[in-house]
C-alpha cells in the first residue's frame, strides 16, 4: 500500500530522512515513535507530499508520489491526514468541515455528503455538535471531528501526526478509542505517537526512528519486550517509566 525505497530528505544541511525503506501493507497499522526531531513527522508528511523528498522512491497504492508529474490531488483524496493541532476550519461548522472536501473534490451532492458526514460524526460520537463551530468544542472533540473529516473522503489510508500530543490527559482516551475502532475496521493506518498502549492493542508493527533513520521495526510485543537495539531500549526506558 505504501512503499519507501531509499528515501532521502534534507532540510538545508540537515539530513532529516536517511535511506528510509519501509513497506506498509493494506489494513496494516504501523506506529512510529522516536525522540523529537527524529524525522517521524516528516516521514508521514512525505506520504501525501506535504513535504517533498529529494531522492529515492515513494509509492502509495502503486502511484509514484516522488514523481513530479503525478497528479497529487488524486493521491491526497485517498489519504486522510490528522494533525497534532487538529487544524479544523474555524469559520465553518463541524458538519461543514466534514463535508467540504467530499463536495468540492469528490463532487458529491451536498445532501449526500451531509448524510455521510452525520453518520461519521455519529461514529466518532459527536453528532450532536454538528452545527457547532470548532472553537466551541474541547480539544478531544475537535480531534474527533478532524478524524471524521479525514474519513469523509472514504480514504484508503489514514495518517496521524501525534494526534493526542496537544490534548489534555483526560481527553486522550476518547480520541484513542476512535482510532482503535478504526484500526479494528481494517483501515490502513500510520500513527506517529508515543501512546504505547495503542501500539500494543492494535498495532501490527512499531517503528522506532532516531536521527532520520529507522532504527528498529518489530511487532509490538517483540518491540516492547525484546527490542534488539540499544538506542531503542534507551528510548523505551525513558517513555515507559512514567
Amino acid at each position: 500500500m505504501i512503499t519507501f525505497k531509499k528515501v532521502n530528505k534534507w532540510f538545508g544541511p540537515l539530513h532529516v530522512l536517511q535511506d528510509i525503506n519501509l513497506d506498509i501493507e493494506k489494513s496494516e497499522v504501523a506506529v512510529i515513535c522516536g525522540p523529537s526531531g527524529s524525522g517521524k513527522s516528516t516521514l508521514i508528511r512525505c506520504i501525501n507530499r506535504l513535504e517533498s523528498i529529494q531522492s529515492g522512491e515513494l509509492y502509495v497504492d502503486g502511484i509514484p508520489v516522488h514523481d513530479k508529474k503525478t497528479n497529487l490531488i488524486d493521491v491526497r483524496a485517498e489519504i486522510g491526514f490528522v494533525f497534532q493541532q487538529f487544524n479544523l476550519y474555524p469559520h465553518m461548522t463541524v458538519l461543514e468541515n466534514v463535508t467540504l472536501a467530499p463536495v468540492k473534490v469528490r463532487k458529491m451532492k451536498p445532501e449526500h455528503a451531509k448524510q455521510i458526514g452525520i453518520e461519521l460524526l455519529e461514529k466518532v460520537g459527536i453528532h450532536e455538535k454538528a452545527d457547532s463551530y470548532p472553537a466551541q468544542l474541547s480539544g478531544g472533540q475537535q480531534q474527533r471531528v478532524a478524524i471524521a473529516r479525514g474519513l469523509a473522503m472514504q480514504p484508503k489510508i489514514m495518517l496521524f501526526d501525534e494526534p493526542t500530543s496537544a490534548l489534555d490527559p483526560e481527553m486522550i482516551n476518547e480520541v484513542l478509542e476512535v482510532m482503535i475502532q478504526l484500526a479494528k475496521d481494517g483501515m490502513t493506518m500510520i500513527v506517529v505517537t508515543h501512546e504505547m498502549g495503542f501500539a500494543r492493542e492494535v498495532g501490527h508493527k512499531v517503528i522506532f526512528m532516531d536521527e532520520g533513520q529507522i532504527v528498529e521495526t518489530a511487532p509490538p510485543d517483540d518491540f516492547f519486550d525484546h527490542c534488539k537495539q540499544e538506542r531503542t531500549r534507551l528510548f523505551l526506558s525513558k517513555i515507559l517509566t512514567h
Binding site: N48, L50, F83, L100, R149, M153
Partner: protein
C-alpha cells in the same frame, strides 16, 4: 456679507451636486476595480512565488513611493506621447485603480499571511486544489484581518479623488474652485466641499470602526 454669499452658494448648489456625482462615479468605479485587482494580486502575492513576487513588490513599492498627483500626470499627459489617448474620466479611474490596487494588494496578502500554515496543510491534504483552498478555506478567514484596513483604504481613496480636478474633471473639488472665483469666501465654499466629502466618508469610517469591534468580539465570544 455672508447672507448674500450664502444665497449665491445656495443657487450654485445643483452645480455642487453635479460635481459630487462625478466624485461618486469615479470613487465607485475605481474602488470596485481596485478591490477586484487588489484581491487577485494579493492572493497571488501571498503564495511567495519568487519571480512573480519580485514584479509585484516593485509595482507596489513604486506606487507607494510616488505621489498620486505624479501618477495621474503620467497617465494623463505622458501616455498620449506613446500613442495612448485617454479622456480625463478614464485617466482618473485608471490611475486611481492602479494606485488603489497596490495598497489593497498589500492589505490582502498581509491578511492571508496571518492565517496559520496548518489551515493550508489541512486543505491541501484533503485534496482541494489551490483555487479551492483560497476560495473556501483561506480567504474567508483572512477577511477578518483584511476588512477593517480595506474600508480605511476606501476612505483614503475617496479623498484622493480630489486630485483628479487637476486634469480638468469637474468633480466636487473643482466645482469649489469655480465657485470661489464668484463667491470670494473660501471658508464658506470649501467648507461646503469638505462637508460633502465628509458625508460620503464618515459612514465608511463608522463602518470600519464597527467592523473592527464586531470582528474582535466575534473572535473572543464566537458568533
Amino acid at each position: 456679507m455672508w447672507g448674500i454669499y450664502l444665497h449665491n452658494l445656495l443657487d450654485s448648489f445643483p452645480f455642487f451636486l453635479k460635481g459630487l456625482w462625478v466624485t461618486i462615479q469615479i470613487s465607485a468605479l475605481s474602488l470596485f476595480m481596485s478591490t477586484v485587482c487588489g484581491f487577485f494580486l494579493g492572493i497571488i502575492r501571498s503564495t511567495r512565488t519568487r519571480s512573480i513576487n519580485i514584479v509585484l513588490a516593485a509595482y507596489v513599492d513604486i506606487i507607494r513611493g510616488t505621489p498620486f498627483l505624479v501618477q495621474i500626470f503620467i497617465v494623463f499627459f505622458i501616455l498620449p506621447e506613446w500613442g495612448i489617448q485617454l479622456d480625463a474620466f478614464t485617466s482618473a479611474v485608471l490611475s486611481l485603480t492602479i494606485y488603489g490596487t497596490a495598497y489593497i494588494c498589500e492589505i490582502v496578502s498581509g491578511g492571508i499571511q496571518t492565517i496559520p500554515r496548518g489551515q493550508t496543510e489541512a486543505a491541501v491534504s484533503s485534496g482541494l486544489t489551490w483555487p479551492q483552498q483560497m476560495r473556501y478555506v483561506i480567504v474567508p478567514q483572512a477577511l477578518r484581518p483584511i476588512l477593517p484596513p480595506l474600508v480605511g483604504q476606501y476612505v483614503l481613496m475617496i479623498k484622493d479623488t480630489a486630485v483628479v480636478s487637476v486634469i480638468g474633471l469637474t468633480d466636487v473639488t473643482r466645482v469649489g474652485w469655480f465657485t470661489v472665483q464668484r463667491i470670494p469666501e473660501g471658508i464658506l465654499v470649501f467648507g461646503l466641499v469638505g462637508i460633502l466629502y465628509f458625508l460620503i466618508c464618515y459612514p465608511l469610517v463608522w463602518f470600519s470602526n464597527r467592523l473592527e469591534t464586531m470582528l474582535s468580539t466575534e473572535k473572543s465570544g464566537l458568533g
